[in-house]
């Protein structure tokens, strides 16, 4: 472990050259012979009866091959958890992105023109657009076949909150809200389905985040065997959790039309279509009540978090589950009562987005801790130090944190030192003159690695050494841009002592790689790394056995620098020669690796157990300048310290931190769908503003490494923890600068200047 050659090095990305030369093909770049272009006609209203659909003019338009509605679809529903998402709406549209008619034509232009000729007669209905209305017992029902709009409720009970609040010297009760966030991956959704290709009924190519989830959906819709549906994912232009159910829906539509016409069908969304139809991050309404002694010890927390699920269940049950686990933040609280809920509404449906249930709770709970510190007359970091998890602490779920390093103190100290927190806090706490005022604010978090008790957590991989010594890797986890091709190649390269230029990580192909679960929950490095490491170890053992016999060597054999060596450092043979000799001796040099995550447990009634097998810890500190004349907030500096266990590729880890921090800046300050009564008004980047290069702070990305016993080379997670802290850190910094606290996102000009958003009630 001391002499790592591939791992813990900032190796260049294995896919970078193809991407800087324009050779990398993305979903919309693919072309197939005889291909048709698909298009969807969506509802005009967020909630409406569909009284009549007339497709005759569209069918007659030159170049149109097929026009279809819900009744043409073998099985119209799918879903990862609850199968209630419809491929196309039939009797009623229940959110503004619902598709009603799909068609395919010889050209994009013909498809677009024909779509305009579809005539749909609606009866517009009054929908429910507020989850707090939707939860009322007498509310009208959003989803057919249900007796309540509640999608899910996760309770957590620890100790007795009444006793805890009675022990408190100070009790604060605050309400917070967070808003919709669009993933805003730069590549709009794109899929091509080829029917009857090779041995399968359909092959699906395109920007698929989770090949197995999309396979499940397409197979279900077509009523086909999983073995007959093949998903091939290659380059994908960003996802951040966002190319799952909406891509499954698109793939299912294209598949139905491809089989109907027996021709490949390509579907590509415009940006407007993408923003209108795709699922978002859940908006939350959060109520927090916290009690503390005057010395600053937390005695109790009572939390209610209500998430807007929109029109479909999608991933709401699991998203709100992560919220219930992390709702108290990383603090020892003896008495906790938490309830998280999701409710259906006639709003855009909500699902996985980087952070997955933690950005809303983190925003609320870390803003609250800051206010509590202020009320107690303590420094924000001191209150946190008094209560935060340490080695052996028990979480709100009563899980003892003793199987990994609890490093909150370390991440806090490193972030504070980097940004010179103590000095700046003191300076900005004093009266500031002039319109521009500065502030500094921090937030800390703990986060469960991988799926946790949400679902079975397994991943498989294949390492196949070829007879020339080059290596092919297969795994069902998909490159989303995060860099897993490179990271997996590094892990296998390290095990087998082979340089990355001899290793090829194949695209995710569901008919070749073992089902590996989804590329979600910041689990890929941990799960896929472990699976491929196991496979590589198996191959290595086979090669050692072969080498001992073939070359008559004894003792330990060391794999490094593309060769095998004796323990005394004498070279035995090149790796490629050993591979060739082994092959020609009839030795099998490939192996599966199957990794099942460590044991976890969860009691649905009490929220007690071991929800995750390990955790990561992070601290981010924001320094801001607020123009009190305009309300404009500029984030000047950000220190972001994250314990990743072990950085397989430090440059990649820094890239994740920079990207996550900037995404959080966007969420905190500017991103806004212009949502009203079920309609999305900001449907492109001229109105839905995401940070540009000019909006970014100077960021110190600080990698903290406390290897995890179960991680490959000790590695854990980095993707999502980076995005959950910024909202609270920036909010706390603004409060120090202006003396005004805020409870709702985004912190746009109006909120910061006059305390409310003029375009909304809040």
């Amino acid at each position: 472990m001391n002499d790592l050659k591939q791992v813990n090095k900032s190796k260049k990305r294995v896919d970078a050259k193809a991407k800087v030369t324009g050779k990398a093909k993305f979903g919309a770049d693919l072309k197939f012979a005889n291909m048709l272009y698909g298009k969807v006609v969506r509802t005009k209203y967020p909630y409406a009866k569909i009284k009549n659909v007339d497709i005759s003019k569209a069918e007659a338009y030159p170049g149109v091959e097929v026009v279809m509605t819900a009744k043409d679809i073998p099985n119209n529903t799918f879903g990862v958890i609850i199968q209630n998402q419809r491929v196309l709406a039939e009797d009623e549209a229940i959110y503004i992105g619902d598709g009603i008619v799909m068609l395919a034509a010889e050209s994009k232009e013909a498809a677009e023109e024909a779509a305009k000729l579809v005539e749909i007669e609606y009866e517009e209905l009054k929908g429910i657009h507020d989850p707090l209305e939707s939860r009322k017992p007498d509310a009208q029902l959003v989803m057919e076949g249900t007796d309540s709009n509640q999608v899910v409720h996760h309770p957590l009970r620890k100790g007795d909150v009444e006793t805890g609040f009675a022990e408190a010297d100070l009790i604060l009760e605050r309400e917070y809200s967070t808003h919709y966030i669009e993933h805003a991956y730069l590549e709009p959704e794109a899929v091509t389905v080829v029917p009857n290709e090779r041995q399968t009924l359909v092959s699906v190519y395109g920007s698929v985040q989770n090949p197995y989830a999309t396979r499940d959906a397409v197979a279900r819709v077509l009523e086909a065997d999983l073995s007959q549906v093949r998903i091939i994912q290659d380059n994908m232009g960003g996802s951040f959790g966002g190319k799952d159910e909406n891509i499954s829906s698109m793939a299912a539509r294209a598949a139905v039309m491809a089989l109907e016409t027996d021709r490949p069908v390509q579907m590509v969304n415009s940006r407007e279509e993408s923003i209108i139809e795709s699922y978002k991050r859940h908006p939350y309404n959060l109520k927090y009540k916290v009690g503390a002694t005057k010395e600053g010890k937390l005695t109790a927390m009572e939390i209610e978090a209500v998430a807007d699920s929109g029109a479909y269940a999608c991933q709401t049950p699991f998203v709100t589950w992560r919220s219930v686990v992390q709702a108290t933040g990383p603090y020892e609280v003896p008495n906790v009562k938490t309830d998280t809920y999701g409710f259906y509404t006639n709003n855009p449906y909500t699902g996985a987005m980087r952070g997955y249930g933690s950005p809303p709770t983190c925003f609320a709970q870390e803003s609250l801790m800051d206010e509590l510190a202020e009320e107690l007359g303590m420094k924000p970091d001191q209150l946190r130090e008094k209560n935060m998890y340490r080695q052996g602490s028990h979480t709100a779920s009563n899980q003892k944190l003793d199987n990994h390093t609890v490093s909150l103190q370390e991440v806090l100290d490193k972030a504070k030192e980097s940004i010179n927190y103590d000095k700046k806090y003191e300076e900005y706490s004093k009266e500031q003159t002039g319109e521009k005022k500065r502030g500094i604010g921090l937030a800390i978090s703990y986060r469960g690695v991988s799926l946790g008790a949400e679902a079975i957590d397994t991943t498989g991989g294949i390492v196949a050494v070829q007879k020339d010594g080059s290596i092919i890797l297969y795994c069902g986890l998909a490159e989303n841009g995060q860099g897993l091709r490179t990271v997996f190649s590094q892990v296998v390269g390290e095990e087998l002592g082979v340089n990355l230029d001899r290793i090829t990580y194949m695209e995710a192909d569901t008919s070749v790689a073992p089902e590996s679960g989804s590329t979600v929950a910041s689990r890929s490095t941990f799960m896929g790394g472990n699976a491929l490491k196991k496979a590589a170890k198996n191959v290595k053992e086979t090669m050692i056995e072969f080498a001992k016999e073939e070359y008559g060597v004894e003792g330990e054999i060391i794999f490094k620098d593309n060769a095998l060596y004796t323990d005394s450092g004498k070279k035995i043979e090149d790796f490629s020669k050993v591979a060739s000799d082994a092959f020609h001796s009839g030795v099998f040099l490939s192996s599966y690796g199957w990794y099942k995550a460590p044991k976890i447990s969860w009691d649905e009634e009490t929220g007690q157990g071991r929800p995750y097998f390990t955790y990561v810890y992070g601290c981010q500190i924001a320094e801001v300048e607020v123009d009190t004349g305009t309300g404009q907030v500029k984030v000047l500096n950000m220190a972001a310290a994250h314990d990743v266990g072990k950085a397989i590729n430090p440059a990649n880890v820094r890239g994740q931190i920079y990207g996550g921090v900037v995404m959080a800046v966007g969420h905190a300050l500017m991103e806004d769908l212009g949502f009203s009564d079920g309609f999305i008004n900001h449907t492109n980047f001229d109105e839905y503003l995401i940070p540009t290069a000019k909006d970014i702070p100077d960021i110190d990305a600080i990698i903290v490494e406390n290897p995890d016993p179960a991680g490959p080379y000790g590695a854990k997670s980095i993707g999502e923890p980076t995005v959950e802290l910024g909202g609270a850190a920036i909010n706390n910094a603004i409060a120090l600068a202006t003396g005004e606290r805020h409870y709702d996102l985004p912190l746009n000009l109006e909120r910061v200047l006059i305390g409310r958003d003029l375009s909304r009630e809040g």
Binding site: S10, K12, R13, D15, A16, K17, A18, K19, V20, T21, G22, K23, A24, K25, F26, A28, D29, H183, A184, Y185, L186, E187, P188, N235, M236, G237, G238, S239, F240, S270, R271, N480, G481, Q482, G483, A651, N652, R654, G655, I657, Y658, G659, G660, V661, V662, M663, N684, F685, D686, I690, P691, T692, A693, K694, I696, I699, A701
Partner: protein, 158 residues
Amino acid sequence: MAKVKVEFKVNNREVQVEVDPTERLLDTLRERLNLTGVKEGCAVGECGACTVLFDGEAINSCLIPTVQAEGKEVLTIEGLGTEDELDPLQQSFIDYQAVQCGFCTPGMILSAKALLNKNSSPTREDIKGAIDGNLCRCTGYEQIIQAVQNAADGEVEA
């Protein structure tokens, strides 16, 4: 609509196309010339994924009708550098991990190229200004800025 004949240079090669007057340069490049390194991200000139150099200036090819390309020189990512010798910017994006999903990368590199063509020693603010019209959701821009800076400073591995 009557087709219009347009002659221009793409990646140093003469091309001749017959297009509708409304056809976007983006579509001509992607669909007719198969230069799919030019990406479509928003179609309203906000994201910069379709950036190409147009007589050396970085422009959004989704906003330019192909007829305007008459007599012009267009450079796409496919025309930058060669297989054996990448442009220093391309190499720098590889060296400094400025690539994640890669969808914004071609446009980002070309906007940076337009900057370096005019200003060989840009400041950090100059670089931010040059790529301000190119959105990236993955990288937070930091490693891109570093890559452009290092390319300008000649700190690129061969």
